[in-house]
């Protein structure tokens, strides 16, 4: 898990290069055969150019099983104080002893999860922050393949002809709808785990042979 340490001599941009070179599964691959990494970021704000990543949580899903052994949660050193955003994620400046540099965290992510399909609930935000961070740190844009449980849920509900109330697509409402256990919200790993459960339920309620391409279509 700390393999990035051994490879410290490689130029930083190579990390992104290697990540981009590992082929993400093709669209024809069955979702059941596809490795997923469910990720969640806690942020100081919504603007990827100005705001910062406060914490990162992820957990992989392989063969439709959430593998808790590989679950990770890191607090990230922020160049500025967390300030007002603490009201959402509950993390205050004093909590950041033991935090990591974003470089370390992203290096581990890119090296361990090349070839994975990334998953998030409302993924555009997470994707944008990850892209900006990679560009800044490694000088090169990483190409992530993302699917979005929020959009999949929207697709499902549309298909069932269900009229949605406001907020119906928020993660904890989705969990209730799928009769899944609720976790504490705005904790990066707890949210990533909840999102992973939601993904499993969505996959199980789809056609057994659903492909990655289908999921990507539903995620748009």
């Amino acid at each position: 898990m700390l393999s990035w340490l051994a490879n410290r001599t490689t130029p930083l941009s190579h990390i992104v290069q290697e990540f981009n070179q590992s082929a993400a599964p093709g669209g024809a691959v069955r979702a059941a055969d596809c490795p997923f990494l469910v990720i969640d970021l806690e942020l100081t704000g919504l603007n990827a150019k100005q705001d910062h990543i406060v914490s990162v949580g992820w957990v992989p899903v392989r063969q439709y099983e959430v593998v808790l052994n590989d679950a990770r949660h890191y607090l990230v050193h922020s160049p500025v104080g967390v300030g007002q955003s603490a009201i959402y994620h509950g993390l205050h400046d004093k909590d950041f002893t033991g935090a990591r540099d974003l470089t370390e965290v992203l290096t581990e992510l890119l090296q361990a999860y090349a070839g994975y399909v990334f998953v998030a609930h409302h993924c555009q935000l997470d994707l944008r922050f990850l892209e900006v961070a990679c560009q800044r740190i490694f000088g090169k844009a990483a190409k992530f393949s993302f699917i979005d449980t929020l959009n999949i849920e929207l697709y499902r509900l549309h298909k069932q002809g269900i009229v949605m109330k406001q907020d119906a697509l928020r993660l904890h409402h989705c969990l209730t709808r799928h009769k899944l256990p609720q976790s504490g919200q705005h904790h990066a790993l707890a949210d990533a785990y909840s999102c992973a459960l939601l993904l499993l339920s969505q996959l199980k309620h789809s056609h057994p042979d659903i492909t990655l391409a289908d999921l990507q279509l539903q995620s748009r």
């Binding site: 808790l68 504490g184 992973a196």
Partner: protein
């Protein structure tokens, strides 16, 4: 890195609840989480432990018989992990849910590190074997030797004198001794031996025990069935059997022990009750009810039969107290009926029932008639209280002058409840509609009952209000079919099997019975008659009857458990102590109640 939701769940799940936070985190990290869909067969591809997080799973044997249902906190796969053998059973998901898979290495390490966790899974495994074998076996004659004799080894050395033997018997107040040599049983000596072989034969007081004892006595193992012991005694015409535990002396079983063990048979106890000449004597008889209950439990007497037996004993106590009162007060000045209401009336009394009784008199309770029956009622109610049937907190007792009425008085009282029903009045009075005569004139009682039924049947306003009262309480099942637990005064959490279960069925059935003019008052009997009369269809009555039996059985088992533990008998049950199948049956029963309440509402609360 821990996912709090997972470690929190583990922290509340037996046997992991004994681990500290750090241990739970490392346990959680060895788990993979899987979503299982209705109809899916759980694949036990590799050796690992399955922990049910949510959903319902049905376990079938290789012959496809349903063994049990697994729910939140239940385990599967431990049999393979513990024995390396596959049972060829089949686990099928019945309701979508999440399962945790715990890796085999982590499971074995946990067992190795924590003896208690190891023992927990070993027990689970042996209980499972047990489930396979005698799931349906109903053995009533399973009382064992160890159930009636205690570990009480009173032994004397073979070389000691007969005088020492006599002294030991006197000191320990026993009629026989085990004779041992080098820690081995070699014989027994009884007080009869001392009489016939020592005194009558004129032997000296210092004669060694060995010389007069019965050598090589017949023995019985502590785990043998009691009927085997009886057989052995009668075949060899002996009255004493040394009891062995793993070939070592354990205790002595005497013919008297066996007779005493049968004394708490209800027939015997009821006979005894009718022979008593004082309230003290009755109190002593009543003190045997709890040991009778334990015996009935061991003999697997079903709950409804046990309820019937306990009611019969209460009836006997009441009848005897009335007889004793008449000895003290003289013959009654007029004809009367002693009435029982509520559970005694319905013949489904439990161990913690209170008194609900009243007097129906031939004449108005004025002057000396009033004085006489006041004294009689007081005598009986106080006597019952001494026998452990507590005074009614709501004062529904014959000792309350408002409940000592003539036929006219009672008829007027019922007329008031029936013609101007108010919810509060009905809540209090509904038990009066389950009435039975315990002692005195049956004719007088029949006149009253016919009068009541004539008033209630085809009386939509009354039935509407009675049904409304019934609907005020609901079964403790949440929207997602989880149990709703409540606290009792002692802050114990649980589900009140009586208030939120049995009583609800009793209430529902009462409304139907009164509407149809059915004179039967026992809930199960009422259901039979309702089906016969076509008031309810067969399926509904069967469901209600089954639900009633399940709840009554759970309560009876709970009372048994309380008695054995020496606790106060309570109706509050913690669903976590139930097996998967029992929990499932409980949920089904509560669902039946919910459905029956909706039908009741449909039928009686519509048109007004």
């Amino acid at each position: 890195m821990e996912v709090a939701e997972v470690s929190n769940f583990l922290a509340e799940t037996t046997p992991f609840d004994q681990l500290d936070a750090g241990q739970l985190t490392s346990l959680a990290s060895n788990i993979s989480v899987y979503y299982c869909q209705n109809g899916e067969t759980v694949q036990l591809s590799t050796e690992r432990l399955m922990i049910v997080r949510t959903g319902i799973f049905a376990l079938y044997s290789d012959q496809q018989t349903l063994l049990t249902k697994l729910e939140q906190g239940d385990f599967y796969g431990y049999q393979l992990l513990l024995t390396g053998l596959n049972d060829n059973d089949n686990l099928v998901c019945e309701e979508d849910g999440l399962v945790y898979w715990l890796a085999a290495d982590a499971f074995h390490q946990l067992r190795y590190q924590y003896k208690n966790i190891d023992i927990f899974f070993q027990r689970l495994f042996s209980r499972r074997l047990h489930q396979y074998k005698d799931q349906q076996q109903n053995s009533r004659f399973t009382l064992k030797v160890s159930d009636i004799v205690q570990a009480r080894k009173i032994a004397i050395g073979a070389a000691q004198s007969v005088q020492q033997a006599a002294a030991l018997m006197t000191q320990k107040r026993v009629s026989s001794l085990l004779v041992e040599q080098d820690e081995k049983l070699i014989g027994i000596i009884t007080d009869r031996d001392l009489r016939s072989r020592v005194l009558a034969a004129g032997l000296a007081a210092d004669t060694p025990v060995q010389q007069v004892m019965t050598a090589k006595p017949h023995t019985i193992d502590k785990h043998a069935y009691l009927f085997e012991a009886v057989q052995l005694m009668s075949r060899h015409n002996v009255h004493h059997l040394p009891v062995l535990d793993k070939q070592q002396s354990y205790s002595m079983l005497t013919a008297t022990d066996i007779i005493r063990s049968q004394q708490d048979h209800p027939v015997y106890l009821i006979g005894e009750i009718h022979r008593q000449m004082s309230v003290d004597g009755l109190e002593h008889c009543a003190s045997q009810i709890s040991s009778l209950a334990i015996t009935m439990g061991k003999q697997q007497v079903p709950a409804h039969e046990a309820g019937h037996i306990i009611t019969t004993i209460t009836d006997a106590l009441t009848q005897r107290l009335i007889a004793l009162a008449q000895i003290e007060l003289g013959p009654p000045p007029c004809v009367f009926s002693w009435l029982a209401f509520g559970s005694q009336g319905r013949m489904d009394q439990s161990l913690n029932a209170d008194q609900d009784n009243a007097l129906l008199l031939e004449k108005e309770p004025v002057a000396e008639i009033g004085v006489y029956f006041a004294a009689l009622a007081d005598f009986v109610c106080q006597g019952l209280a001494r026998c452990g049937i507590i005074l009614c907190p709501g004062n529904i007792m014959a000792s309350n002058s408002a409940l000592r009425l003539s036929l006219k008085g009672w008829s007027g009282q019922f007329a008031k409840w029936v013609s101007t029903p108010t919810p509060e009045a009905l809540l209090k009075s509904s038990i009066f509609f389950d009435l039975r005569v315990i002692e005195g004139s049956r004719g007088l009682f029949n006149a009253l009952q016919q009068d009541i039924l004539a008033k209630t049947s085809d009386n939509p306003l009354f039935l509407y209000h009675l049904a409304q009262t019934t609907l005020q309480r609901s079964a403790p099942l949440s929207f997602l079919r989880n149990f709703i637990l409540e606290h009792d005064g002692k802050q114990k959490k649980g589900l009140d099997l009586k208030k939120r279960g049995i009583s609800l069925i009793t209430d529902i059935v009462r409304v139907y019975a009164l509407s149809a003019g059915i004179s039967e008052i026992n809930t199960r009997q009422r259901l039979v008659q309702l089906a016969n009369a076509g008031v309810l269809d067969n399926k509904d009555t069967q469901n209600l009857s089954d639900a009633f039996d399940v709840l009554a059985q759970l309560r009876w088992d709970k009372h048994q458990h309380d008695l054995i533990q020496g606790h106060d008998v309570s109706n509050l049950l913690d669903p976590n102590v139930l097996s998967g199948l029992q929990r499932h049956q409980l949920k089904d029963s509560l669902t039946v109640i919910n459905d029956a309440q909706s039908s009741l509402k449909q039928r009686f609360c519509r048109d007004l």
